[in-house]
């Protein structure tokens, strides 16, 4: 469904994402893990169009979308929830979600492009969109806070709202960037249940950047490891978690007593056991 071909971005001399080729199928949840600064969020930015690729291509259902701006990629079915929340702070939670529902419906009704705003349709569908927004908010247990402006919501609720927006858009490809960071422990299962229910539909492609390894090993069908911008491991979760690159570079388990060089570049031995394909 989604594929990157030698996807690369350079910032000056720094190669943040280095020739990453990877294919993501519908019905599969792929976790993307790696040390801080490995390039995980940058890779997401290249896929969703927040950053322009220096080299390489992104294809969605076989179609090259590398040169499309982010909003048009969203229209083709790429949906993204951000590591740092991106919401309309002065609108209510419900209005935020309703806008996402509206964007989805109008996008579907008018696949050719933006055109104009159909005010009659906005008027007639308004009630249905509002109802759906409420239903989605109930799914992330925010129904009782639907009327509050986003600015008044605590951080964890804003993260849940971000997940609700993605559910409202219902894209073909769901991209989650640390969806549970900043949520209190009793609320994490709410979001994990939603991701699990998405998975059970078997028709959506799900990409998940996540540091909590219990979440990763429970939810993912496959794990991809990025390190220094390169794809260094890719495979079935248990095998990848057991690999030296994950054990040492990421979990810090093996070689725990090994001093981290103060002047080092944090490149552990064995990290390049597998370079790009």
């Amino acid at each position: 469904m989604l594929e990157t071909h030698d996807l690369t971005i350079r910032f000056g001399g720094h190669v943040a994402v280095d020739r990453v080729s990877c294919r993501f199928e519908a019905g599969t949840l792929t976790a993307i893990v790696g040390p801080n600064g490995a390039g995980k969020t940058t890779y997401f930015n290249l896929i969703s169009g927040q950053l322009p690729a220096t080299e390489g291509r992104v294809t969605l259902d076989g179609e090259d979308i590398t040169s499309l701006p982010a909003p048009l990629r969203t229209r083709r079915g790429l949906g993204r929830a951000f590591q740092l929340t991106q919401l309309f702070p002065n609108l209510s939670a419900q209005e935020n979600v309703r806008l996402a529902v509206q964007a989805r419906e109008q996008g579907r009704g008018r696949a050719g492009g933006w055109g104009g705003i159909d005010f009659w349709r906005v008027w007639s569908d308004h009630g249905a969109w509002t109802d759906e927004a409420l239903h989605i908010l109930a799914g992330v247990r925010l129904a009782d806070k639907a009327a509050l402006p986003v600015a008044a919501l605590p951080h964890g609720d804003q993260r849940k709202l971000e997940v609700a927006l993605l559910m409202a858009l219902d894209p073909k490809v769901y991209m989650f960037d640390e969806p549970t960071a900043g949520m209190s422990v009793d609320e994490v299962p709410v979001v994990l249940d939603l991701i699990r229910s998405l998975k059970s539909r078997r028709d959506r492609c799900i990409l998940l950047v996540e540091h909590k390894m219990d979440v990763v090993s429970e939810l993912s069908d496959r794990i991809v490891v990025l390190h220094n911008g390169q794809l260094v491991a890719d495979g079935e979760p248990r095998a990848v978690i057991a690999s030296p690159v994950v054990q040492q570079a990421y979990l810090g388990l093996a070689g725990d007593e090994e001093p981290v060089p103060a002047g080092g570049t944090a490149t552990p031995a064995g990290a390049h056991e597998r370079t790009h394909r």
């Binding site: 801080n36 960071a181 944090a266």
Partner: protein, 264 residues
Amino acid sequence: MSALPTARPDPAAGHLGQRAAAPLLSLRGVHTHIGAYHILHGVDLEVPEGQVTMLLGRNGAGKTTTLRTIMGLWAASSGELAFRGESIRGLGVPDIALRGIAYVPENMGIFTDLSVQENMLLAARGARHAQQLDQARLDWIFGLFPALHKFWLYPAGKLSGGQKQMLAVARAIVEPRSLILIDEPSKGLAPSIVQNLIRAFGELKRQRTTILLVEQNVAMARALGDRVAVMDDGRVVHAGAMADLAADEALQQRLLGLSLGAHA
């Protein structure tokens, strides 16, 4: 990894050891309003010196607001806040910081146009030049967060999300503090770095640094917490020893709606 160098005495730690029994920080009946919203409804909280006090509770319980009220970022509308027995209510943020209280906010609050080094310099009360930073302490910090050494002279805005979080924590520990208020330090950090953080806070604690920690990482809460305060609806609804809460599953279910053991 290099060990935490022995701390120079904190210039603000005037009465160290003189009031062993009195808490370093105490809040009595603190109310805070943010705009039209009444967030804290009479918070009572004691933070004993030289220990880690965990502040737990659901989203919206008032944990972040409590930290911001202590730091003076929100004004308490009533109640008492005392640090070393002296009221700090109504003091400006700089005055509170100068008493040796550091704050790691949830949104990190780093200066993206300044270099990593400049961000660290701004956080150190005594230093005006990089040469004035305590080199042994910096080496300790670089051991915890190697990425900060690698990007020392880069604009902090170029750091990844997790690296920014490392910088936010590093600023709070760049010099000895009397009290560190931390809002979810483990958020967005790779597991190996979370392990480094647990080790670092353990070392700080052994040097009598007092820490008030909001954290959702259960492993971290259990490994570090001496005391625990649980908040709900803008109040502290339970306070006690972390070990007692960790041993009492029924209490965990009632206070937190979950069992800590299930996530350990």
